[in-house]
Symmetry: C2
Subunit: 188 residues, 2 copies
Amino acid sequence: MSKVLVPIAEGFEEIEAIALIDVMRRGGIEVIMGSLEDQLMVKGAHGVVVRADRPIEGLGADELDMIVLPGGWGGTKALAQDATVQSLLKEMDAKGKNIGAICAAPFALEAAGVLKEGYTCYPSIEEQLQTPGFQGAKHDVVESGNVMTSRGPGTAICFGLAIVKKLVGDKAAEGLKAGLLADYCAAR
Amino acid sequence: MSKVLVPIAEGFEEIEAIALIDVMRRGGIEVIMGSLEDQLMVKGAHGVVVRADRPIEGLGADELDMIVLPGGWGGTKALAQDATVQSLLKEMDAKGKNIGAICAAPFALEAAGVLKEGYTCYPSIEEQLQTPGFQGAKHDVVESGNVMTSRGPGTAICFGLAIVKKLVGDKAAEGLKAGLLADYCAAR
């Protein structure tokens, strides 16, 4: 069973985080919601408070198959500034492990130096980024080497499906897409 | 400012609940996440634990503009069996107030006798329902009198936008749709 860490920081975008977690768990992936602090209760950008499964402290790249960052500007800034998240991103990248980010969160990947040329993000966030190769709205999900990126709340289910396709397989992703009633997610 | 209650019961479908709450709050609606018990921590169908804002006990129809039920079969059964939710649904309906339900949750509306002819729900849930007028997949959101229904996780953002359109207005809903990158939601 694949194991994926979703770090949850105050100000995270709720639809993005929850859609990714829900879709990945439906796909049979073990998802860890990781808090940046010892405190497990984390408040999102729209006031929804969720309980993380554990602090991220102590997690290493060897036990993870992927790390995926939800967006929300407040949450993204926290992920970009958190030493544990940043060193985990570098360690994952150095080991060639999968990394994902949606909406504003590619900013936190760039901060760690792991964003690859060829990516997407929430419209206008590209103005905050120096990495070349912004793909705009051509695709809901862009894959470049070991890094997958997506655009925003409306593409979060599709991003979750793309991750399931990558870590679990085509058949699981196709079945899930039908079950979620998310026919608008492009076949990839 | 419109006020909407979203009752959260153990086993609620996380994408549906969170997408509705997030989209409505973005639209300027005051959303109350209501717990069925005094205990505010509620676990969803895929293990995500959220903290409700307050217990539903003590809330009356007069202070609400709408009640919207998220799906998930476990959560739906709890909503169908909970005396407070059921009497609140009847009181809202008797006063002509707005009622909404997505996925399996029209089952909880039917239990209260408030589901109107002309509705949609998650595929196959209609087999559990006696109310005539199932509309299938023709529309992501169906409106019949004071009752709005929708289909499942993949239509939850669109349902939230339809509620914003109804309670706040066209312009707010159109702006939100663009901001959420949810162009796939049909204009209604």
